[in-house]
Amino acid sequence: MSDKAKERLSALMDDELVDFEQDINHLQDDDSLKQRWMRYHLIRDVISGHLPDAVAPDFDLAARVSVALEHEPTILAPRRFQPRQLMKQAAGLAIAATVSAIAIISIQNPDISQTGVTPLAAADKQGEKVVAFNQNPALVSLPATNSAKGAPLSRTAHAHSHKSAGNRASTSKFSGYLLNHNEYSVSANMQGMLPYMRIVGATQNQPVIIRIANEK
């Protein structure tokens, strides 16, 4: 079973899938998937304490785990020399030798390496322009045009106001998207709620959303 299938199963359990018809079909056909589905439910029930007492009287998983851990003897063993580590290093050397050989070939044929580079360098000039724009603080930190108190948050700085006059980015809509995005972003798993600092960090006189003037 692929990780993808497992993940979809888990998402299905959390009621997160839109197109789940096929997953249901798989679930019906695949016995190992069916068993996994049952196990997931059992795990969830155990952890959230939803198992009836008849099945597991006084089943306090967390407590039992910590008791078990306490009785676990501490093993103090010296680290052994691992021949596998040596093999790994030898393999690394072999790969390195191959890479070096390739390097020699490509350096001796400057024509090859050059043709390899050209399309990359010319890949997307538009993108570079945008990055350059972002790096220019003078352009992106324009003060809000309307900071009157009580006014609905119109802190949309217009980098090129003549172009974006009828083009105001709505802060509220941006936040709505951002909330949804943050909840499903991979980095949220790594950084917790830190991505929300972009919403909280906005202060009275700061532009929240800055337009990028690159329209054709």
Partner: protein, 350 residues
């Protein structure tokens, strides 16, 4: 004629010299290489271990800290309180300067208190208790798109921390410099950088304390929101209307970005059903939102950004597409411009 021949000989000699010096350089470089590769291999396991430690720390510890957040030339200071107990994971983020904004999050919902707008925005949170408990960051996936390395130790907010570099192989994603607390694995500082290692966004703890227990009082909002406008999406799951249930596809994804899940959601402020497609390269995530065109006034047309988050919006027939993610603008633009209705499968839908 003679001159010409002399020139040819000279040219040949110089070419030989050039080749020899090249050879020497190659030998020198190739002697260095094996050492590098072996070291790199050993580092991979170590980096994976750090990333896993970081993941469990951010969700498994109770702490309170003050940090600064900077983007371009602006700095702001915030306080974070994170609690883990029998009630699950609860967290609160408070602005320390100016707006008085707060975000409080638990396993059910995310509530944003925005006193500067007299409003409160509520959104259902994604349950973090997913099964199986998946660790989202897999180093083998990451290595396709990023260079990873360990980069010595330093001190942040008084804690010794390990620096990890995750740098992009192309311009479609940001690079990350991470400082991770040595003992607990908590993320103490980050630099989000563009290709040439220029920071676009920074975050750093200046004060941090770990606690065994955090009182409920500390997790309550500090603002009186009784007079505010509340915007809340209904808890009931939204189903796409027949019109919106069209199949969408993204034709051009930057290398390494793969489709994750697809869901229906509701925007809290206008209660519009929106289709949400998620793409990720294992670290960076891009969201594509597709909705029926209603209030065209408020749509995010063209490009915009909020800190390191970029957005791109455009109209597509009767729909509106908004792409948003912590990625450079090229990425959201490329994805946004290539959203198209999928070719209809005959017999499906009417």
């Amino acid at each position: 004629m003679r001159n010409n021949r002399l020139l040819l000989v000279l040219l040949r000699i110089s070419r030989r010299c050039y080749r020899q010096s090249l050879k020497r350089l190659v030998i020198f470089v190739s002697l260095l290489m094996p050492l590098n590769l072996v070291l790199a291999d050993q580092h991979q396991e170590e980096i994976q271990a750090w990333l896993e430690k970081m993941h469990s720390a951010v969700h498994g510890l109770s702490y309170e800290g003050i940090f600064v957040y900077g983007q371009h030339n602006q700095l702001s200071s915030m306080k974070i309180i994170h609690s883990v107990d029998k009630n699950g994971e609860r967290e609160r983020l408070i602005s320390m300067d100016g707006s008085g904004r707060e975000v409080i999050r638990d396993n059910n919902r995310v509530v944003c208190y925005l006193p500067d707008r007299n409003s409160v925005v509520v959104q259902k949170s994604r349950p973090r208790s997913n099964f199986p408990p998946r660790f989202p960051i897999d180093i083998n996936t990451l290595q396709k798109n990023y260079y990873l390395s360990l980069d010595g130790k330093g001190k942040v907010a008084g804690y010794i921390s390990q620096k990890i570099n995750i740098l992009p192989k192309d311009k479609f994603r940001y690079g990350y410099h991470l400082w991770v607390e040595e003992k607990t694995g908590l993320l103490l500082k980050t630099h989000l950088v563009v290709e040439d290692d220029i920071p676009v966004e920074q975050f750093m703890f200046t004060q941090l304390h770990f606690y065994d227990h955090i009182s409920d009082e500390q997790l309550k909002p500090g603002v009186d929101s009784s007079q505010f406008n509340w915007f809340e999406a209904p808890a009931k799951k939204q189903h796409a209307s027949s019109k919106a249930a069209r199949n969408w596809q993204v034709k051009h994804l930057p290398a390494g970005f793969l489709p994750d899940i697809k869901r229906m959601t509701t925007l809290p402020e206008n209660l519009m059903p929106v289709e949400h497609l998620i793409f990720s390269d294992g670290l960076a995530t891009v969201s594509v939102f597709i909705e029926e065109m209603m209030d065209s006034e408020n749509n995010l047309r063209g490009g915009s950004h909020m800190g390191a988050v970029h957005a791109f919006g455009r109209a597509l027939d009767d729909f509106y597409v908004t792409v948003i993610g912590e990625v450079p603008f090229v990425t959201v633009k490329m994805i946004g411009e290539s959203v198209a209705p999928a070719v209809k499968v005959s017999g499906k839908n009417d």
